[in-house]
Symmetry: C2
Amino acid sequence: MQEEIRLTPVSYIVLGLLSWAGEATPYDLKRLVASSVGNFWSLQHAQLYTEPERLTRAGLLTETREEGGRRRKRYRVTDAGRAALRAWLAEPTGELTELRDPGLLKLFFGADPAALARVQLESHRAKLAEYEELQRSPRLQELAGPRLALEAGIGHQREWIRFWERFEE
Amino acid sequence: MQEEIRLTPVSYIVLGLLSWAGEATPYDLKRLVASSVGNFWSLQHAQLYTEPERLTRAGLLTETREEGGRRRKRYRVTDAGRAALRAWLAEPTGELTELRDPGLLKLFFGADPAALARVQLESHRAKLAEYEELQRSPRLQELAGPRLALEAGIGHQREWIRFWERFEE
DNA sequence: CCTATCATGTAATCCGTTACATGATTAT
DNA sequence: ATAATCATGTAACGGATTACATGATAGG
């Protein structure tokens, strides 16, 4: 009775986090996302309710519902789910993201660079500070993947700051 | 008879390109996008049929349909459309994009850095070369916005290359 | 002439966002 | 107690992607 679904990045985020956590409710997932991958790929909390449902229908997760109290839904990865995650990880991707930066779009169409730079710099500097703070967490240092992802994030924030600083008076 | 619609980045891309071009069919827009803003914010061609319709319903564009032949639809920006574009440009945004990079997502969840680096580097180097080629176009040099956007793109490609080069053997 | 590609458009699907809603906890 | 916030969930909507389809043009 397995339904065919297309696996999106969101699917793999859920699969990945669940395979770390072993078991989690959507709310657990929400917190997990916020403290980890959400720093460069954030999700609406509602997606953390619908996406596990989809994955369950495809046989990649199991769902158990608490009987008493809040009747929370708890999810676990199945063998098929683990296999799907492993296959995804094993296949390197050459795909690139686009910048899709709202500030850059305005610049493109002729907005005033100096005015933009002022607010953009403020945002990027705040984000950079946040990342650097995260980097001090000793827990993160042990996790190779997240640590490297964070370093990428920091590199890009610095690049943005270099870019916009040219327009400061 | 004006309908309320929410203006998205895609809306401003259409408004912006149309205000440059004066008049265009969806297909014209497709080519315009491909040769300009599409380098960092690409669109499905179908969106260039539906989005002008939405903007027309909101009174920001006018639509005229050819009588004979292909019965193409041609769009122009109205005064209200120009005002909307101007207002958007005048308001600097502090909003940031997330990286949302597929390769980084795999790295985060434990994919092999060296294997990823190989294909990612190939893609990023190709993209960088493409951008540097674009930069040689004299026409671009005169257009401040696009030129700056391209410089941002180049900076980020270089940043990605620096990042992934660490994992090369 | 035929085939492939370009040009043009519509329809259906689906994911992601937004809005809505209510049950628990904590703080004042 | 009561308000505020946290926790948990569902429903509706809309934009973006995908699929489908056909007419024109150019190349062989």
